[in-house]
Symmetry: C2
Subunit: 157 residues, 2 copies
DNA sequence: AATGAAATTGACAATCAATATCACTTTCAA
DNA sequence: TTGAAAGTGATATTGATTGTCAATTTCATT
């Protein structure tokens, strides 16, 4: 969206940074996604438009997008980070299909409230949290291909 | 505990693996811990007893302990994995002090129940989940050393 | 439009945790 | 005791990400 592109440029200006062709392109490609995407995958997309852009610049631009409050970095079970739009300003958690990798966002105030209560009992003040549910989505429950899928289990139950 | 050591040996036998001096030592050192420990840190401990043991063997033995159901691997905000005893058979989640790194385990059935509800609404079947609360513990709230501490934020709120 | 200081880029090296390789050593059933 | 199979440890390798640095680009100012 033009809106986000504009916000990004504003952030650059305010931070005394420069609006370059690469940043413009990478940001545009990122905003064009509607799912969680890895730096590598984003790189492949922009690479299609301009072969000269390097993966390193994609990493750097994603970092800038985070600083601008336009992207969130998520570490799910896998090795690499995934980036999502920070557009929906509300906090949300994630439900991830351990078979096909589908990611669904959700929010639940009751859970958040209970978290606060737990923290209070433990003498903590919550700064942020991470809630990820892993399981099978409707589609993947249908086909009984028992494999473990793309996302590895991480020792919870 | 002798009990766990025995269970580990049983797992080895049942899997057609061999009970070696190194495995014995590493497992003993692991069971002697009472907190979450990294492979590297465990290596340093056994290294104190027997300089000849390699880090690689520690990694391999921790993997065996996981397979034996005696250890859980956790990926918190940091880069490296931490391992904990799987003794308390019940599932639990973690509250982590973002300043001093202290880790407290807790369990909350209400949250679990709500998670199930959320998943059902989304058409998912939960296989496992990950809930981590990050914040300041009592002690670290006291001293106002505003730093971000050892554990990095991961873009949640 | 030209200038030039400061920022940016991209190729490559480096890091860091974890895993693979492989020659040598140890275990353990027979 | 023995020998096949498993295990070990030094080292190399991986894969994601970050650091380095010479060459290039931006952009406020001329």
């Amino acid at each position: 969206m033009q809106n986000k592109q504009h916000k990004f440029r504003q952030h650059l200006v305010r931070s005394g940074l420069k609006a370059t062709r690469q940043r413009e392109l990478i940001a545009r490609a990122f905003f064009a996604t509607n799912t969680h995407i890895s730096a590598e995958a984003l790189y492949r997309r922009v690479s299609g438009r301009d072969r000269r852009i390097g993966l390193v610049t994609v990493y750097r631009t994603l970092k800038l997008l985070k600083e601008a409050g336009l992207a969130h970095e998520r570490q799910f079970g896998e090795g690499r980070a995934l980036f999502e739009h920070a557009s929906s300003d509300r906090h949300h958690d994630h439900m991830i299909c351990s078979h096909c990798g589908k990611i669904v966002e959700f929010e639940n105030c009751e859970i958040e409230a209970l978290q606060e209560e737990v923290a209070r009992r433990l003498g903590f003040t919550i700064q942020y949290h991470k809630l990820e549910l892993y399981g099978r989505c409707k589609d993947c429950r249908a086909d009984a291909s028992g494999g473990t899928g793309r996302i590895r289990a991480v020792g919870a139950r």
